[in-house]
Point group: C2
Chain length 331, copies 2
């Protein structure tokens, strides 16, 4: 692969654009904010979302979708709420003639309950589709700290071609054929990271957070398997790996949001102050709807839904969880 297009200029899109340029690809980098893209083109830094990274010269910035060429590789790195609309806009551009389109966004569309690559499939008929996921904080990838990712695609040759691109001495990628499981795992970890953050904000301790993470993993596996993923995927990098990275890292916006809620801030106040999207807020609503529809038992998700969207206090939400009847672990 020689030419790549990166759609979305948040921290992860910026880190990925830089990674691909450093691997020798010609990179076209799109963001919707004209002023931001012009500033990045000139200063070689995304001061708003990833200020410490100097972008290689090979990254060409634009805010015009119509100016983008067809590529060997398109990375979709927009927020989950913008994925369908962005794909629709791209469908009538040269980008739709690209070889491979990869979703790098974690989430489930709220109105439809669709996975991100399903939305891409609705608008792109030519390109092969794939998913990049795993415990990949953009800030650490930008600093070239050791990182492992999963690349899922239905076509094995697509996964292998992407694996070749996403390999560096400090960056390892593993292939998977379980697109559905990898996407569900990625979408589900965000609400649980908010829950872990709330527990931290309430100062419940490491034992409580570990118990919460364990139950979150069981819930992810239960719901994601019912939705069509393979159970084993949830024990891998895109499942438990991303879950623990998100629940235990202060890089995570969702975890930081949870901490603020646990410490007594309101969701509205926190959101008014933070320019970054905490994907877990819309994710929780989408997943809650899907869980009810599929009739899967999800007490942790229900608790965090109650706190985010039904006005329950963080203490009420988590105490409800901790005061259930004792039972056998395997039940």
């Amino acid at each position: 692969m020689r030419r790549a297009t990166v759609i979305g200029a948040g921290s992860w899109g910026t880190a990925l654009a830089s990674f691909l340029a450093a691997r020798g690809l010609e990179v076209h980098f799109w963001g919707r904010d004209a002023a931001l893209m012009q500033a990045i083109q000139q200063s070689r830094r995304n001061e708003r979302y990833l200020p410490d990274l100097a972008l290689p010269a090979g990254v060409r910035c634009t805010h015009e979708l119509g100016s983008l060429p067809a590529s060997d590789l398109v990375l979709m790195v927009v927020p989950s709420s913008a994925m369908a609309h962005t794909a629709q806009l791209l469908a009538s551009t040269a980008v739709a003639q690209s070889q491979v389109v990869v979703s790098c966004t974690k989430g489930i569309e709220q109105s439809s309950g669709k996975r991100m690559s399903e939305l891409l499939g609705d608008h792109f008929s030519g390109p092969q589709l794939a998913v990049l996921s795993g415990p990949n904080h953009a800030e650490e990838v930008a600093r070239q700290q050791p990182t492992a990712a999963v690349i899922a695609a239905e076509q094995q040759e697509t996964a292998l071609a992407l694996q070749e691109v996403f390999t560096a001495p400090w960056f390892r990628s593993y292939t998977s054929d379980d697109v559905v499981g990898v996407e569900w795992a990625g979408a589900m970890k965000n609400p649980y990271a908010i829950a872990a953050g709330i527990a931290r904000g309430l100062d419940l301790g490491d034992n409580a957070i570990a118990a919460l993470v364990t139950r979150a993993l069981a819930e992810m596996t239960r719901l994601g398997s019912r939705a069509g993923g393979k159970a084993e995927t949830f024990s891998g990098l895109s499942g438990v790996g991303d879950l623990v990275a998100t629940c235990y890292s202060l890089h995570s916006r969702n975890n930081r949001l949870g901490i603020a809620l646990g410490q007594g801030q309101s969701l509205a106040d926190y959101q008014a102050k933070s320019p970054m999207v905490a994907e877990g807020v819309p994710n929780t609503r989408s997943l809650y709807g899907v869980a009810k529809k599929l009739e899967v038992r999800t007490p942790v998700l229900d608790a965090i839904y109650g706190v985010l969207h039904e006005g329950k206090s963080p203490t009420e939400g988590l105490i409800g969880l901790l005061s259930r009847e004792p039972r056998a672990e395997a039940e």
Copy 2:
């Protein structure tokens, strides 16, 4: 259950003795150090291992095994290296006539490769045997922070009776019939916590630690299943729950040891300064031997064995792990 005996006066034994007394049981508390036990009896504090906890009046301290009565419940909370010898000494005392003996120690005996409850079975023929495990930092249990544990026993009625004892508004216990899996899970998390600590000491970042934890869980499941545990146990509190609690908490002696090694201290220097036993050091040797005998692939365990017992540098050990050939995740 009315009368309990707690054998071992480290931080976990002290927290458990206090818990049982607060639940209304008569508690006999044994430690091998006469001066320490006398000091605890008088000051109601274990200044050496858990100084912040005031022991309830119901806890009776002694250093004489022969003075202990038969109990409804005996908790064995000595280091894994002392379990066989302590059980042997108890076998000729009244304690051997107790109803239930519970191992609260995580580890595999180095010379024999036996689990702790196997060692107890070698010396106690009368009592029912059980295991208490999970993400249970003593310091947090002492402060009554929310905690969940697993109680494993072959006899369901034993597990249920213990569950009733180990229940409080802030302490939840789950039963399991997989004694083997629960013990292997508990024994294996310590070496991995050292590995996570090394990664932290080397400042490799959250992505690297999450990848390491993911691979550690796969390894635990592989080795523990081969040794006779149920795979699902490793996805529970005694498996992934305790693994993440230990890998991400500064309460963990093993994690702290790893951090010191990653920052350049030698094992000998660290051990000379720390009065607490980091179980992971002997555990790594025992598990390495078992893995070789059972012919199970354990690259993470091998790496940590190399650092602890073969003089490899932390960087060598972890870089060996990160530079393996890319592959499919499920391989």
